[in-house]
Symmetry: C2
Subunit: 496 residues, 2 copies
């Protein structure tokens, strides 16, 4: 665990506020210590803190009542969906109020004519597709945790998934949110009917991905998408990861918009095979390319993809021949993180983004860092949009190795930033990467974000000590450079 | 012209500030009254005000110097691109500083590998496509004014165009902006390298479409898109506009994503024919459907579109047989607004959005309003995304008719809002529709937007008295209702 540089301020929820919460929520208020402890972390388990109260509202009015009380008594609150987040976004502040939205789990209506779904935040990602698939529709964002994770969390983190290369992130598919602001006001951001391009500031875009720091979402209007006529999935095996990455660049340069392009390295393949036996070929790098759309188009484009893979010396190519075969291929990919337990006692998953063309160079830097530190680094990534998920493997039973692994994982992120990229693609900043924000952004950028935060939340009650660097947790850190002409300075652009 | 309810405060630029502007800008400072008068309005010519000074900076540093001086002396400023806006977004505040960005007109670099263009704000929309078309790319947003309007204005208004049905608005294609904040600070919003999904708040999304109220854009990173293999354009003539609208819904329900679907009514067709002789069929409603993509897909989908048009009793269908024929079809469509001069001495173009399924009902309401007021209403619209451009025809030489026409145009917008829609799709709110914002949004929505504005601009110096209703210009107006379950109350949804 990281050690804060100063102790956290003590939070005590006043008795009068607890009494009022109890009156509003009844059994939806949890004060028992053992029960509260089950909320002490999310999917990032090396940060833990126990909340002072857990609330489980069933309605927007109840959420509003909770937030108004927090505002009145200046008590911080942290909203929580299924707790599957990987950056500590739902980590409580010690002694705070947790607002768990799992009981607000109804799909309220489906409007097929306008291709919209209206739902509460505790509905799981997969349930949306379940509700519309009989009419040939699906909900596009597909984080690996989609059978468990909820819409509220998807909105908070702007969740992605393997298919956001073609279909976009959650922000593309959320058209409106009913939101309880940290002051207790109820408002709509974006459109109540899912009409495009609303006037005024696009605060919905700011809210999506704001990691719980701007308010609590109490309902959402989602866009649904028609299922494609055909889906085809290719596995191509390569002797080196550079050839797999080059194939990705070649596919994009040829004008083909694949629905997913994923790369797994040797360590990831071995771990995944040990866990789910997807029957992957034994190779240095595996490229998975999925195409969807009209059958005629997909057939023609898959032929082009196969030719490009062959040009880059693919040792083997396999096309999934059935839905069942495709499901197995994806099961192997989606299990890759959890499967690391088969090859290492512990691991840290990171989430950085780089310009796609920088892939071979950055992967070589990762490799050099691994050799220099003696810690293995496995790579699984959404190659099409340059979203890397390096995993740092370590043994927590060796004194000091967790701290070293954490340090390496942060160094990986800085390599991404140095390449013109970002410290997160889809997992969010949360508690885990807040100190790295100073490496990525110059002071004026962070100052504007903070001012916007205060427009929503003047007292910093909503998910405090997340997302932004704070002196208490990060100390005084130098900012990254503010580059005036970035494409030019990064040397990746043709100058006029 | 609308009459403000109270006189505007008088603005006088201090002599010391003018001297400093002159030192920084040299001949880029315009104080001559006749020259200043040429900046008194934009494309919405019934609102006019003369600025106190016009500045024509050539660099980011000059823009920053101008804004710092405005901030220091609390002088409002209005930034301006080509002045083609239709909602008075570039209308000066009497006596203010205009920041004209026409001289910042360089494309700085093109990065084909990552499909990005880096450009200054005074570059025209069409110039981006000109710079990349030799490699098979184009810049997708295509407002009708694209040969003249500039990127800075496109960003300010989140410009659309006929093809944003498939390709999205400007916000989809702007990946980063260098911005001078109203306080004079320089920052980047979004990504400097065009990497997707940056951490922290998506302030770029808020900035795009903020109509010049949050700062001045000094450079942009744009996404470019590969040209499709094939484009096909169909004209279908109908005896009534409801059948044309039904065809649009049927096409979308069939899963076809057209690149454009436009409808013109009889009055618009007659006007357009008189102006540009596109050879349109004489009919009650003309539907234009454009498909693009791989040839095999486009051929198959166009066959389906033609069958759907026939099912809805299209009287005639014509497929453009060459690029030249397609250009003529589009020339007629894009000339429709200007061509209204052929059938009416004056007209007001409006810009409302409705859920696509409400098209027949809302068009009938427009018709009833026309009959009740005796003012003709012509309709041209982006039917695929429900973006209407009704034109109210009037004769300005008849006393009181302009005011009546303005009133009717606002009534049309309220019908759009009542149908679950919006007061603007792509022209912006600007000066023209700021009072209608109170009809569309509840007080908490507007209050949050104002707080965000103040996070960027604590003194309201950037394009003041635009976008938001003010008591001086709008009086005290009632807010629209705040609906808790909008899809349900609007009766357009299937209840679970």
């Amino acid at each position: 665990m990281l050690t804060p540089t100063a102790p956290a301020p003590t939070i005590t929820i006043p008795a009068a506020m607890l009494a009022e919460l109890s009156r509003v929520l009844g059994t939806g208020l949890i004060l028992d210590e053992a029960q509260r402890q089950t909320y002490e972390c999310d999917g990032l388990t090396n940060f833990r803190a126990v909340p002072g109260a857990v609330t489980l509202p069933r309605t927007t009015a109840e959420v509003q009542a909770i937030v108004r009380l927090c505002h009145q008594h200046r008590i911080p609150f942290v909203s929580r969906g299924a707790g599957t987040g990987l950056s500590g976004g739902a980590l409580p502040t010690e002694g705070c109020v947790v607002i768990g939205l799992a009981r607000m789990n109804r799909i309220l209506s489906v409007d097929f004519d306008n291709e919209r779904v209206f739902a509460e935040p505790g509905v799981t990602n997969s349930q949306v597709t379940e509700a519309v698939k009989h009419r040939g529709y699906f909900f596009a964002p597909d984080p690996s945790s989609q059978t468990v994770c909820t819409l509220g969390g998807n909105v908070a983190e702007n969740a992605g998934g393997a298919h956001c290369l073609k279909y976009g992130f959650t922000s593309t598919h959320v058209l409106g949110c009913e939101v309880v602001l940290p002051t207790g006001e109820l408002t709509w951001l974006g459109s109540e009917h899912g009409v495009v391009n609303e006037p005024g500031y696009d605060l919905l875009g700011t809210f999506v991905g704001s990691e719980g720091t701007l308010g609590v979402v109490t309902s959402v209007v989602l866009r649904i998408v028609r299922k494609p006529e055909t889906v085809q999935t290719l596995l191509a095996a390569f002797d080196n990861i550079g050839a797999a990455a080059q194939t990705v660049s070649d596919v994009i340069a040829s004008g083909i918009l694949a629905s997913a392009m994923e790369i797994m390295d040797h360590t990831s393949i071995v771990a995944s095979e040990a866990a789910v036996h997807a029957g992957y070929p034994d190779c240095e790098a595996l490229l998975l390319v999925e195409l969807d759309g009209p059958t005629a188009e997909v057939n023609a484009q898959m032929q082009s993809v196969r030719e490009l893979a062959a040009k880059n010396s693919a040792a083997e190519q396999r096309l999934a021949q059935s839905d069942a075969e495709r499901a197995v291929v994806w099961k192997g990919r989606k299990a890759a993180f959890a499967a690391m337990g088969r090859v290492s006692p512990n691991y840290i998953v990171q989430d950085g983004v780089i310009p796609r063309t920088a892939l071979p160079r950055v992967l070589a830097q990762f490799d050099a860092l691994s050799k220099a530190t003696g810690l293995r680094i496995a790579n699984v990534f959404h190659a099409g949009d340059g979203n890397l998920h390096p995993m740092v493997l370590y043994d927590g039973s060796i004194a000091g190795e967790e701290a070293r692994a954490l340090d390496v994982s942060y160094q990986l992120l800085r390599l991404c930033v140095d390449a013109g990229g970002s410290i997160t693609g889809e997992h969010g900043v949360g508690r885990e990467k807040q100190c790295e924000m100073s490496y990525m952004y110059a002071q004026p950028d962070l100052a504007v974000m903070q001012r916007v935060r205060h427009a929503f939340d003047p007292h910093e009650l909503a998910n405090p000590e997340k997302l932004f660097p704070t002196p208490r947790l990060c100390g005084e850190r130098h900012n990254g450079p503010h580059r005036e002409h970035p494409l030019v300075t990064a040397g990746i652009a043709e100058i006029f």
